[in-house]
């Protein structure tokens, strides 16, 4: 058993029992971050802040929401929006944050792809990140069911139908997921459970994994330079703060994180108060009606690119393409065969692959919302084929990529 002495202060008392000083060092003051990074590295903190907004606003919504198909719509649109003091604020914050969190995740993802932050020991960071993305998608979808409006109902119908597996015709599976022939009470209550308990637990666990995955390889930097963190941190601690290539997480990097968060909050609250329509679809302010399909059914914007990959094909090929799109990003570290982990712009053909993928996904996203007619169908089909083709050629174009390590040393 450890030896305890009479504590000289509260801090000492805690230190003997919880080693708080050591923990603080490990997590903050001696968690070393490269200096050669830009504001895109603050997206992680922006995501944490947004997640906290979602969690807090969600708790308040949870106190008045009723998971019953007869009263759900009323509890949201009357009780929360009209009666609960500031209920409207929690709902708008929750709705807007749920949409914006995906924008930031996409920026975070494409930052990782651009700077090659999924290689050289950082594979688990990427994989845990993609698992988070998938869990967030499930969280967003299950949450979208809860107001029980027209879009909730019909998105629930369409998405659960995906599990029939096309020609496999697994109606039993679809009915098992729904607990009914159509989305009804059992469906609403189980998605409510998923949204408020199981998926948030999974998300919190995965966030822990994502952070843990960062410990050993450390954060990447703007040039993909391999740093000797031990030597550089010694230099810092010896007093050469300016000469060292690394800095403390807190307060050094955190002050920059907070600066970015400050700018982000201006953007976020502008959306919450003045431009929330994009996150709260008007159609969902009509109560669910199983006998009336809305004229246009489309998912929230962040699902549109994968939805568009499903759409232009016959059902079986569509489902295979859709499944491909859902999981392919996870395998990026293994499909990119190049030894270089430097910004995409210094990497031969991969440079075109990166910008091409970004543009293609934006095209898919916009076509996914437009009605599937005429020229939009054609553009959507081409963009979907391009998406698949680009992933197939990725290993081929990266395999013969030239080493570009030398460039960094010139700087």
């Amino acid at each position: 058993m450890a030896h305890f002495t009479k504590a000289t202060s509260v801090k000492d008392w805690l230190n003997q029992r919880l080693a708080i000083e050591k923990v603080e060092k490990v997590l903050a003051s001696e968690y070393w971050i490269p200096k050669n990074i830009n504001f895109l590295w603050a997206m992680g903190m922006v995501l944490v802040v947004t997640f906290v907004f979602l969690l807090v606003s969600g708790l308040f919504l949870l106190m008045y929401y009723q998971a019953n198909i007869e009263t759900a719509f009323y509890s949201v649109n009357f009780t929360i929006m009209r009666e609960v003091d500031f209920g409207w604020l929690w709902r708008h914050v929750h709705g807007v944050a749920a949409s914006v969190v995906f924008l930031i995740m996409y920026i975070h993802m494409f930052t990782g792809i651009y700077y090659g932050s999924y290689k050289k020991g950082r594979e688990m960071i990427w994989i845990s990140g993609m698992l988070l993305f998938i869990t967030f998608s499930a969280e967003a979808f299950s949450g979208y069911m809860l107001p029980w409006g027209q879009m909730s109902y019909w998105a629930g119908m369409v998405i659960t139908n995906l599990f029939s597996g096309g020609s496999l015709h697994a109606d039993g599976l679809v009915e098992w997921i729904r607990g009914d022939y159509v989305p009804a009470q059992a469906f609403l209550t189980r998605f409510f459970m998923l949204h408020v308990v199981l998926l948030p637990l999974a998300i919190i666990g995965l966030i822990g994994l994502h952070f843990a995955a960062l410990r050993i390889p450390h954060v990447n930097n703007q040039d993909g330079e391999e740093l000797d963190f031990e030597a550089e941190s010694k230099k810092y601690l010896a007093g050469d703060k300016a000469g060292s290539k690394v800095m403390r997480f807190a307060n050094d990097f955190m002050s920059k994180d907070m600066m970015v968060v400050g700018v982000y909050l201006i953007f976020f609250f502008y959306l919450v108060f003045y431009n929330y329509g994009f996150a709260m679809d008007p159609v969902n302010f009509d109560p669910a009606d199983g006998l009336k399909t809305p004229t246009h059914i489309y998912p929230e914007w962040y699902f549109l690119w994968s939805y568009e990959i499903l759409r232009p094909f016959s059902i079986d090929i569509g489902l295979i393409a859709f499944a491909f799109a859902q999981v392919i990003f996870i395998f990026l570290p293994f499909l990119d065969r190049s030894p270089n982990s430097v910004p995409a712009n210094r990497r031969g053909l991969f440079k075109f692959w990166f910008w091409g993928m970004l543009v293609d996904m934006i095209i898919l996203t916009s076509m996914g919302k437009l009605p599937p007619e005429g020229i939009f169908s054609t553009i959507g089909l081409i963009a979907a084929l391009v998406f698949i083709a680009m992933w197939i050629v990725l290993p081929l174009i990266t395999k013969n990529e030239k080493q570009v390590q030398g460039e960094i040393d010139e700087k």
């Binding site: 369409v158 607990g179 022939y181 159509v182 059992a186 809305p294 059914i297 759409r311 059902i315 599937p372």
Partner: protein
Amino acid sequence: MKNDSRRGFMGKAFGAVAAVGAIGSFVAMKKSWDPLPSVKAAGFTTLDMSVYKENKLVTEKWRGKPIFILKKTAEMVAKQTEEQKARDIVIGDAHFMVSIGLCTHLGCIPAYKESDEAFKCACHGGEFDFSGEVTKVPPPRALDIPPFRIDGNTLVLGEVGPEYTAMKETGITL
């Protein structure tokens, strides 16, 4: 390090016992997600077929699903192909198109356009003719026909009659 092999064996045995318990609980979890008996026993719908007007689509409801009933006009009956005719439900001398009103692609409700004598789905652009056959993809197959039994002038949805069995056997509906 004594008894190493024995500890190894008991460890595995304990693991196996734990696994049995876990699998057992999964069975219960799976079954708790099944549709409830009250849901499964959702009633049968009986329809009086003498009330429908020609080329006017009426949407009835059965187990929470919309059911399309379309009485065909004489011209429709005259011009339809054998495949289209095979899908007809004939009561007296009236021909009906009866189907589950959900697109076989991803379950939206197609709208009936009387002037075109066709169904158009707003979701993904699928189209069906007045017999429920696909005329434009993505739908993989014609509109599904619900289980039915003809009883004089009425149609009972949910019960299986000889006409429905025949349709199922010939692959007209799933």
